[in-house]
Amino acid sequence: MQKTERKIKLIPGKTPKEDRINFIKFWANYIRTHSDEDWSKQQKILLEGQYSKLIKPKS
């Protein structure tokens, strides 16, 4: 699971469910092949968009 940056192609799914599963696998592969800083910065943006008004950072 170490950081050898390489391009992975996302295969479009034939149904919404298949497309979603393909994306989940694509993202897992992205994590396996990119640095923790890279993927976790992206995850942070998504999570903080959803939680920022609910969770106040510890002072």
């Binding site: 699971m1 989940i24 800083e37 995850q43 999570l47 510890k58």
Partner: protein, 192 residues
């Protein structure tokens, strides 16, 4: 992300959810052996989805320990969503029910805390593994167990997706014997 000797090391950029879990488990871990199960585990390991609750199993200990935990949580800005009465909260736990804690003036996300009820949950606690983050440590079940539970006993489509995600993320690193053991255990529970 490194996975070696029952430890996962993630040099993660901290997010608010991880920070909240670390704040809660830092207090909890002083009094109880714990393990975080279910949805948050996959979020901790990178999945891009939210959750409204963080499920936590704690070992059974006496009432005195629980009162220390209760006091520490209240002092650190948490409250129990089920009751303001500590003895009532403890009696819920002892009845096999879950109690929830959240930060004051909020409801979600919250921590759903319970004692282990079946062999699978006891094993999750006993065989817990460590996730090391830059700001602290969080305990989770073995990855093989999480995959088996989510594959065989899914509560929702999210669980099915979580299983696919974990299998892909830890491809080539899973213990197949362990995975089969947990799958059989889950199947037995499903039949009950």
């Amino acid at each position: 992300m490194l996975f070696e000797n029952n430890t996962i090391k993630i040099d993660k950029v901290p997010n608010v959810l991880d920070d909240l879990v670390l704040e809660f488990t830092e207090i909890l871990g002083k009094y109880y052996k714990y393990v975080i199960i279910s949805g948050y585990v996959t979020i901790l390991l990178g999945r891009t989805r939210a959750t409204e609750d963080i499920d936590v199993l704690i070992e059974k200990r006496n009432g005195e320990i629980f009162s220390k935990l209760w006091k520490a949580l209240l002092e650190n800005g948490f409250y129990c969503l089920n009751t303001e009465n500590m003895n009532e909260a403890l009696s819920y736990l002892e009845e096999g029910l879950a109690i929830r804690f959240a930060k004051t003036a909020t409801v979600i996300p919250n921590f759903e805390v319970k004692f282990p009820k079946n062999e699978l949950e006891h094993q999750a606690l006993k065989e817990r593994i460590k996730v090391e983050l830059p700001k602290g440590i969080i305990f989770i079940p073995k990855i093989e167990q999480q995959i088996a539970v989510k594959r065989i006993l899914p509560a929702s489509e999210k669980d099915v997706e979580d299983a696919i995600y974990l299998e892909e993320l830890f491809k080539g690193k899973l213990n197949k014997e362990k995975l089969n053991h947990y799958i059989e255990l889950c199947k037995k529970l499903k039949e009950k």
